[in-house]
């Protein structure tokens, strides 16, 4: 019997050891869609700890389904509750529906059952699907017209507004927007003999720095990036002012064709493949799986969302810096503005919806566009300010003085007027296209195909997805 007990103890010990050193969030267990990057330990929202309050009787209540987990979701709920406090007539009921892809599926199922929520938060790559769903959604400009609430599209920064507009008309309401930045480990830079105050600017410099980090054993890996297609394909194309697809990256027509097998795109994948071979770059997995590699100290440089800032701040045990994404300096005109990621708010139609309910939605949209509300959202979450006013207010608050580098995402998004290659993208079934690119890149990184084959295959398969999407909506 003694031996049995000993055996159990040993087993428990092994299990404990096996589980103990893991960091808190399971890094690869990320949902297939863009999961919210944990950011600032947002000031605990008063509403977060208490059970969801029930709508007070007599108020016109609208449902708001969202897909942001904690702690970002707490900030969102706090903002909504503040709106409710400012109101006597309307009430917005925030309901968490899981990750973005789950929220999207829930909203679709609810619409088909005639029970759609009034507002649903949808990730940026679902934009084409939502826009095509005429009848299921009410465009924001139309909402403004019908309700008489002033929702002036000019107050939003162009890189954000453009992503969610058809021409001059705003279709969905911008809300949480982020853009990728380059974070680097200053301690590791010092150790490798690099100047921590002069981060690399171009891809040549990034590659040299990454190689030096690895060669001097300052870090085990030089460079990595999260959201591989968002940081290295979608934003890469914008920064270098090359098209991702025809028809203004799909914004002016469903018959767009992918164009990301250009020489520059192939060259970039080749750079990454060469860096894999020399050990200066490590592919950290799809979606947000690679994020953990930076705060853990394994990789010295990461391309990650601006909304990852607070997570990096909380988890890193070293000095770090943030700077703009790198570019190829022999590409003329580069770099221009980057593009956003994140999500926007959509107004959904459903049988039996009243004018008052739409009015409530419009009032809520007007509220979140106020400079002070936008500034708070930006400061507490790490998402970029969506309005010029929010940015000015944050500056006036002295936030950037206290948080150096926190203003860089806004600068990167607004440093040039968006061209037709840097306005955003609107491609049908974009999540599927992203997965296709992952698959082809992973094969290339494994050495199973060349950079050109990977990009050609991705474009060919992606175009089939686009044609399928087009057929569905014909």
């Amino acid at each position: 019997m003694k031996r049995t007990i000993l055996f159990v103890l040993i087993l428990l010990a092994v299990l404990f050891v096996a589980c103990a050193p893991a960091p808190t969030p399971a890094p690869t267990a990320a949902p297939p869609t863009k999961a919210p990057e944990p950011t600032k330990p947002a000031a605990p929202a008063p509403t977060a700890t208490t059970p969801r309050p029930t709508p007070p009787p007599g108020r016109i209540t609208v449902e708001f389904w969202f897909g942001l987990g904690k702690p970002l979701g707490d900030v969102l709920e706090a903002v909504v509750m503040d709106f409710n406090k400012s109101q006597t007539k309307y009430y917005v009921d925030p309901i968490f529906k899981g990750a973005y892809v789950d929220t999207m599926n829930a909203a679709i199922a609810a619409y088909r059952a005639g029970k759609a929520p009034h507002i649903v938060q949808m990730f940026e790559v679902g934009t084409a699907t939502m826009m095509a769903a005429k009848g299921a959604i009410k465009p924001v400009y139309q909402l403004a017209k019908e309700t008489g609430v002033n929702l002036d599209s000019k107050i939003y920064i162009p890189a954000v507004r453009g992503y969610y507009s058809e021409g001059e008309n705003m279709i969905s309401m911008p809300w949480n927007s982020s853009t990728p930045m380059m974070y680097y480990n200053k301690d590791a830079f010092k150790k490798a003999g690099l100047d921590p105050e002069k981060p690399p600017k171009t891809w040549t410099e990034v590659r040299a720095a990454a190689k030096k980090l690895v060669d001097t054993k300052a870090t085990a890996c030089g460079l990595t990036f999260e959201w591989p297609t968002w940081t290295q394909l979608e934003n890469f194309s914008a920064l270098h002012n090359v098209p991702l697809a025809t028809k203004t990256n799909g914004m002016t027509g469903m018959d767009a064709e992918l164009k990301f097998n250009s020489d520059l795109h192939i060259r970039h994948l080749q750079t990454l493949m060469d860096m894999t071979k020399e050990g200066s770059f490590k592919y950290g997995g799809r979606d947000g799986a690679a994020t953990v590699l930076f705060p853990s100290g394994e990789c010295g440089i990461i391309h990650a969302s601006s909304a990852a800032r607070a997570r990096i701040k909380n988890e890193s045990k070293f000095e770090w810096g943030v700077t703009f994404l790198p570019y190829y300096d022999d590409v003329k005109g580069a770099p221009i503005n980057s593009i956003i990621g994140g999500a926007s708010l959509w107004v959904m139609n459903s049988p039996g919806r009243t004018a008052d309910e739409y009015k409530a939605v419009a009032e809520f949209f007007a509220y979140i566009s106020k400079p002070e509300v936008d500034a708070r959202w930006h400061q507490e979450t790490g998402y970029v300010p969506i309005t010029h006013g929010g940015n000015d207010k944050t500056k006036a608050d002295g936030f950037y003085a206290k948080n150096p580098g926190a203003d860089l995402p806004y600068q990167q998004l607004t440093r040039t007027q968006p061209t037709e290659n840097s306005m955003g993208l609107r491609l049908g079934n974009m999540p599927q296209i992203r997965i296709i690119v992952y698959e082809e890149w992973e094969k290339a990184f494994q050495g199973q195909q060349t950079a050109k084959q990977a990009m050609d295959n991705a474009v060919k398969r992606g175009n089939e997805v686009l044609r399928e999407f087009e057929k569905t909506y014909k």
């Binding site: 049995t4 159990v8 399971a26 890094p27 599926n105 088909r112 999540p431 082809e440 992973e442 909506y473």
Partner: protein, 294 residues
């Protein structure tokens, strides 16, 4: 010599069957019929535009080289899982069936993994085998073996085979153990008196006598590998790298839930349903004939 029991009441049998029939109708026949209906339509996710496309979706699916690729992955995966699970579970059961000290404890410990949800099991595996934060993954790399299942398709497939099997071994172990314990002790003792070796005892007496259990488990394991491994794949590899761990089941999920292509996804479900029905039918038709029921 069978005695037939005849019910005089004509309604009672149906009444007794009713709860099961209701459950099967709600959770199987109704969704299955919806899937068949959806599989001949092309529809946007919101159901705003619907075209009847006859069997176009099936043609698209079956002519898609990626579907054939997933098919191959599924076959390799299912056979590996089934073989792996049954061999180990049988080995454990034979070992635990012997008169050893603490047998009860071993039995209990071997059953633990079954109590875990697949997704949780997968997360545990992440913590163990993640190339940079997993305890074994890190040591493998430190030991000079290049372990990175995020980029090596073979390693990813191996990992999900092992992780899925680990989950399923407990269940198989339980059945094998019950099977072994139901073998009449007199037969075993007679063989031992005749001087049969442990291997001979197993091969000529125990194994044939537990063949109904083995047969049942074979069916269950194949169905498990086809349908029930979603959680492990989703949490560990997400179908990648490349498409090396995209099984038919995972592809149905990706096309339906993520890509929102309902018609294509439904067509795949229908094909999957046919495949598994065929598998079960073949097993009962041919394999069962060779099974020895006592």
């Amino acid at each position: 010599m069978q005695r037939r029991v005849v019910f005089n009441n004509r309604i009672l049998p149906y009444f007794l069957l009713l709860p099961q029939l209701i459950i099967t109708t709600i959770f199987f026949f109704w969704p299955a019929s919806q899937a068949i209906y959806q599989s001949v339509l092309r529809q946007d996710p919101f159901g705003l535009r619907t075209t009847f496309v006859y069997l176009d979706n099936f043609r698209d699916v079956l002519s898609d080289p990626l579907y054939i690729e997933s098919f191959q992955v599924t076959i390799v995966f299912s056979i590996s899982v089934t073989l792996f699970v049954m061999t180990l579970a049988l080995l454990f059961a034979v070992m635990a069936d012997r008169q050893i000290r603490g047998a009860q404890t071993y039995k209990t410990l071997l059953l633990w993994p079954y109590a875990l949800a697949p997704a949780i099991a997968a997360v545990l595996w992440v913590f163990i085998f993640h190339p940079s934060i997993g305890i074994i993954g890190k040591s493998l790399n430190a030991g000079g073996l290049h372990w990175d299942y995020k980029l090596d398709g073979g390693q990813a497939l191996l990992l999900i085979v092992v992780a899925s099997s680990w989950k399923q071994i407990a269940h198989n172990f339980l059945f094998f153990l019950a099977g072994l314990q139901s073998v009449p002790i007199a037969v075993v003792e007679a063989a031992m008196i005749d001087g049969a070796s442990a291997w001979k005892l197993f091969r000529t007496i125990l194994f044939p006598l537990i063949s109904p259990t083995t047969f049942y488990l074979l069916t269950i394991n194949l169905v498990f590998a086809f349908f029930d491994t979603f959680g492990v794949i989703h949490a560990l590899t997400g179908g990648g790298p490349g498409r090396s761990t995209t099984t038919l089941m995972y592809k149905v999920y990706m096309d339906g839930y993520v890509n929102l292509n309902l018609g294509i996804s439904a067509a795949q479900s229908v094909i999957l349903m046919l495949i598994v029905s065929a598998l079960v039918w073949i097993q009962f038709r041919y394999v069962e004939g060779k099974v020895h029921y006592s």
